[in-house]
């Protein structure tokens, strides 16, 4: 709690935390957008979300080790995750997509555990980071430092989000995805190949997560067992913003990034994870309270 005083003594430090938090929050928002997409279209909550993020990060790390420039590695990691997502859908998710939410949560949680252990086996349990080779900006006479890679990743995340939104809005396939989200049966009757739509949605989500993870590996650190926190962050953002609310997801993501950065600083880094998961409980209780006021339940 001593750190709280620092914020009052040196207000400029709050600015530093705010900027860092918002820049990281864009990546959270990107992963959350993917979760909202899968949730809205396929009606499953993907608990392997965070593992896709970490896997994207590790792929970028492997590509960097192989000599590829990190910025060229990002699209490669994204494409690779698209394929991985497609395969996972075809093998496992296709069988649980029609079942109740509990089974699909548990199945994707199982996939998450499997991916964690595979990454642990292949890449090792060490914390890794990818050096982007970009410099640092010093603002306000060097009182505030901004890593250039964070700004770059912020814009990449935002641009990807906009591209995805436009894809869903404009293209024929995007329309099919949105039609399936609105009404599965009606879309089927109108000739939408819903199975293909599901496969593409799940693969797209994996690809988005892969991109987010590649960015995370450059601005932060990755480790095989860090995935669950990203899943929970995505889930919280979607709960707060609501399904199908792109602007809301972006704002909630940025807000979460900032809140987490402040909490990590004030409470100490060892309580940052505790903060995320406690926040989840608080948000769910709050949501429940609001619903109980309305006297209605969502299935």
């Amino acid at each position: 709690m001593d750190n709280l005083q620092i914020l009052f003594v040196a207000p400029v430090f709050s600015l530093q935390l705010l900027i860092d938090g918002i820049l990281i929050g864009a990546v959270f928002a990107l992963a959350a957008y993917g979760m909202a997409l899968v949730w809205g279209v396929m009606k499953i909550i993907n608990f392997a979300q965070g593992e896709f993020v970490i896997l994207g990060g590790f792929l970028l790390y492997a590509l960097k080790e192989a000599g590829l420039h990190p910025f060229l590695g990002v699209p490669v990691a994204t494409a690779a995750l698209f394929v991985i997502g497609w395969v996972i859908y075809r093998i496992a998710v296709v069988r649980v997509v029609e079942k109740d939410l509990f089974i699909s949560i548990l199945a994707t949680f199982g996939i998450a555990i499997l991916l964690q252990q595979l990454m642990n086996q292949i890449f090792g349990a060490d914390v890794q980071t990818v050096e982007s080779g970009l410099g640092t900006w010093f603002l306000l006479d060097g009182q505030v430092t901004v890593l250039q890679i964070k700004v770059v990743s912020f814009f990449i995340a935002m641009v990807l989000g906009v591209i995805l939104a436009l894809f869903l809005k404009m293209t024929r396939l995007g329309q099919a995805i949105r039609a399936t989200a609105q009404h599965f049966r009606a879309a089927q009757i109108l000739g939408v190949d819903t199975d293909r739509v599901y496969a593409i949605t799940f693969a797209l989500n994996a690809a988005i997560c892969g991109a987010a993870g590649a960015l995370v590996s450059m601005i932060w650190v990755i480790q095989p067992f860090m995935g669950l926190a990203y899943t929970i962050r995505s889930f919280m953002i979607v709960i707060v913003a609501g399904l199908g609310n792109v602007i809301g997801v972006a704002l909630a993501g940025l807000g979460l990034g900032a809140a987490e950065n402040f909490a990590g600083f004030i409470l100490g880094a060892e309580f940052q994870a505790a903060f995320i998961f406690s926040l989840l409980v608080v948000i769910l209780l709050w949501r429940n309270f609001r619903l109980s006021l309305k006297r209605q339940y969502l299935e």
Binding site: G110, I113, I232, S278, L284
Partner: protein, 353 residues
């Protein structure tokens, strides 16, 4: 032989086998003790997750609470805090009487603490009407948050964990001692649950599982039943945790006490594998799961956790109804279900004629 006689023979056979097991397989005593821990996990999870339909991902909280309470009580009873932390628990060992006093007192306090926590959480979460995936994810958050808080809390050893007091006798004796403790606890839990399921309580929580709104409209006090079931589950899980900490000998906040991604998920999977919502399902599921896991450890060393992950996915994706569910579909008349297929066939035949 009538069915009661068969049951007595079956229960007697299991009893004899279970009592003799640690002497037949002396090398596997610790693993055998863990077998009963797994059965207890699955049974206590199934009370809330299977029978009541409230799939919790965070029951591990009560396990951790029991474990920490027991260890902390024992530490405070016999050692000073400073002295204990300094040598990480390896001060001069306790006498058998001291050890047992501390253990039983600690487990009692742990059980009470877990029930109180379950009641408080029940009032905050269950009584407010949180359901379905939101309940599951909320409890998941609780489980992980508890682990993270414990690993930041100096009083309980923070991230470096707690070492439980050394067992007064040798390690082999420790495994035997805890084997019988867990076996006894399993018997008590099993028959308590059997008693609960066969009465009004079982009918009420099954009604909650099938349709909570209708159950409430029928006049069942759903909130009271939900919180009671959650507390019963917490009570037995806490006792399990209290003893399990001493069997393992070392309490790590996130890997042992609040091990959501391992124990926390396994308890769900074992219940599902055996068949959730049945009395024997969790027991059978736990035995199969534990044996599979030990086989993976023995033959796939290095890749055992990957294999386990694949096994988990396979259970959920390909076999979600579980063994008991499958058996019920296969031989419905043996489970006392009215066989509708034959009735339909008869009507169809009658129409045909």
């Amino acid at each position: 032989m009538n069915s009661d006689g068969k049951k007595i023979v079956a229960y007697g056979g299991i009893l004899v086998l279970a009592l003799a097991a640690p002497w037949m397989m002396t090398a596997y005593r610790t693993q055998l003790a863990f077998l009963w821990v797994m059965v207890l996990f699955a049974l206590t999870w199934d009370l809330v997750g299977g029978q009541m339909g409230y799939a919790s991902f965070g029951n591990i909280v009560f396990f951790g609470v029991g474990m920490y309470s027991t260890a902390v009580i024992q530490r405070n009873l016999h050692y000073g805090l400073e002295e204990y932390a300094h040598v990480a628990g390896r001060v001069e060992s306790l006498s058998a009487a001291e050890y047992l006093t501390g253990l039983s007192l600690g487990m009692t306090v742990g059980a009470v603490a877990a029930v109180v926590i379950a009641a408080i959480l029940g009032v905050c979460i269950l009584a407010m009407g949180m359901r379905g995936p939101y309940f599951g994810i909320c409890t998941l958050g609780l489980g992980v948050a508890a682990g993270e808080l414990a690993s930041g809390w100096e009083y309980v050893g923070a991230g470096s964990g707690l070492v439980t007091p050394v067992f007064p006798e040798g390690l082999g004796e420790r495994a035997i001692f805890f084997y019988y403790i867990f076996f006894f606890l399993t018997i008590v839990t099993f028959f308590t649950l059997r008693r609960l399921y066969s009465g009004r309580f079982g009918l009420a929580i099954n009604a909650i599982r099938d349709d909570e709104d209708k159950a409430e409209a029928m006049g069942i006090r759903t909130t009271r039943y939900k919180i009671t079931a959650w507390c019963v589950s917490a009570f037995f899980l806490s006792l399990t945790g209290g003893a399990a900490g001493h069997l393992i000998g070392f309490i790590d906040p996130t890997e042992v006490a609040f091990a959501g991604p391992t124990f926390g998920v396994w308890m769900i999977l074992m219940a599902i594998l055996g068949g959730k919502g049945t009395l024997w399902g969790p027991v059978i599921g736990a035995v199969i799961f534990h044996v599979t896991q030990e086989v993976f450890w023995t033959y796939l060393f290095g890749w055992q956790r990957v294999a386990l992950g694949a096994f988990i996915v396979a259970i959920v994706v390909f076999f979600p109804q579980g063994l008991m569910g499958w058996a019920q579909e296969r031989w419905p008349e043996r489970f006392g279900h009215r066989v509708e297929g034959t009735a339909l066939a008869q009507t169809a035949g009658g129409e045909g004629a």
